[in-house]
Symmetry: C2
Subunit: 244 residues, 2 copies
């Protein structure tokens, strides 16, 4: 094992990992904040993380757009629009949808729909496919439902850029310069973190915090390679096995 991917921020524990020489990378589906702002907030909270250590959907989408000569119509949060500053958005030939929050108006959804329906071969990139997330004010719809709405209306299938897409984990591994079998994923989401990483050929631990539910240990489709009660225990386990 030569590296650790984490869907969960390792926080104070990552000091031990860093000292061990293991490469660490953070994989997030955050699509309401730019990577710069996310890292800035984390650093102010005392987390030792650099922008280059974060794999997030917007930069991954930009790479895909460039590789395939795609010019996106953007339906994303204002905060992440800057991530696409270097991308040509004139005369769009695809749609990129992210967790746009209040920007998911009928008008904006309809505009994205019309762009797709006007294309001979519609391409829809979705920054994640989360169902919902929790805020202090309650549960909030995530991008997944809006992706499904456009898929259904247009009769197409979106390409998901983010967890649990194996391509997304693959891009994190390429950035680390390691093979899947050399890396371990740690996360709290049995499908998004554990299942996605395993489909990419990695081993994956689930932490019993955050999104974890006891029923995850009997999930019908995904079985983690191990369970740990918290991140400290995950780090213990990783350091014990770091030479394997």
């Amino acid at each position: 094992m030569s590296s650790v991917l984490s869907g969960h921020l390792l926080g104070p524990h990552d000091v031990r990992l860093r000292r061990s020489g293991l490469k660490v990378r953070f994989c997030t589906n955050e699509s309401q904040k730019s990577r710069g702002r996310l890292v800035g907030e984390l650093r102010r909270l005392g987390f030792d993380v650099a922008e280059a250590e974060v794999t997030a959907p917007p930069p991954a989408a930009c790479r895909i757009l460039r590789e395939r000569g795609l010019r996106p119509h953007l339906l994303v949060h204002d905060e992440v629009r800057s991530e696409f500053d270097q991308i040509d958005t004139s005369n769009p030939n695809c749609v990129v949808i992210g967790d746009a929050g209040e920007h998911f108006s009928y008008r904006n959804m309809n505009r994205a729909f019309q762009v797709l329906m006007g294309l001979p071969d519609p391409v829809l990139l979705s920054l994640g496919k989360g169902r919902y997330y929790k805020e202090t004010s309650g549960l909030m719809l995530d991008v997944g439902g809006y992706m499904k709405a456009l898929e259904y209306a247009c009769g197409i299938e979106a390409e998901v850029v983010g967890k649990p897409s194996p391509e997304f984990f693959g891009s994190a591994l390429r950035e680390l310069g390691v093979e899947a079998r050399q890396a371990v994923m740690i996360g709290d989401d049995i499908v998004g973190d554990v299942g996605g990483a395993q489909r990419c050929g990695m081993r994956a631990l689930q932490v019993r915090t955050g999104k974890f539910r006891p029923s995850d240990e009997h999930h019908p489709e995904v079985k983690a390679d191990g369970y740990v009660d918290n991140l400290a225990e995950a780090v213990d386990l990783l350091l014990q096995h770091a030479d394997k």
Copy 2:
């Protein structure tokens, strides 16, 4: 054959049908206008149609709500809200979604989502499941996509009240007081009109107008019992066979 259901307004041709003694009923998925307003507009255009001859999703939904003691949270167009005037909407135990147009804001979608997630056994009634429709300003998203968004986010399946639901055609037949085998559906939508009516046990003609596309005649799943170029031809055919 003793009756005709039409997803397409028969217009001037219905005079001949009425004289023939055949019962006529209009089945529409219109969920942006009240039945009263729809009929009013049609009458001003010269169509001879009464409110009681129209089967539309909102009244069908009201019947279901009453039968099952359901109190809806409404995510519908302002125009059809009045159709639910007699329904108790306090302390909602289900959600009714219609083609809400501009009311499909993130805030309103999130509120409907939160109501569903707060229920031990979430019930979502959808007034149709259309993908989109055409207006002079261009293609517009219909209720179907938003239904899919809530289905995905909540992990549930909506009950569709409207075409092509066989229950919806069944309610039109009950209102006419005839059996499915005695009725013929005429419509321009191969799946919504023809397929739905056939699944309910009726025969169905497709008219080569409106939504009709030449590829419909080779649809992989639905085959109409007959095709006609226009409504006049449909009426000719029906009158020829009215005794069968």
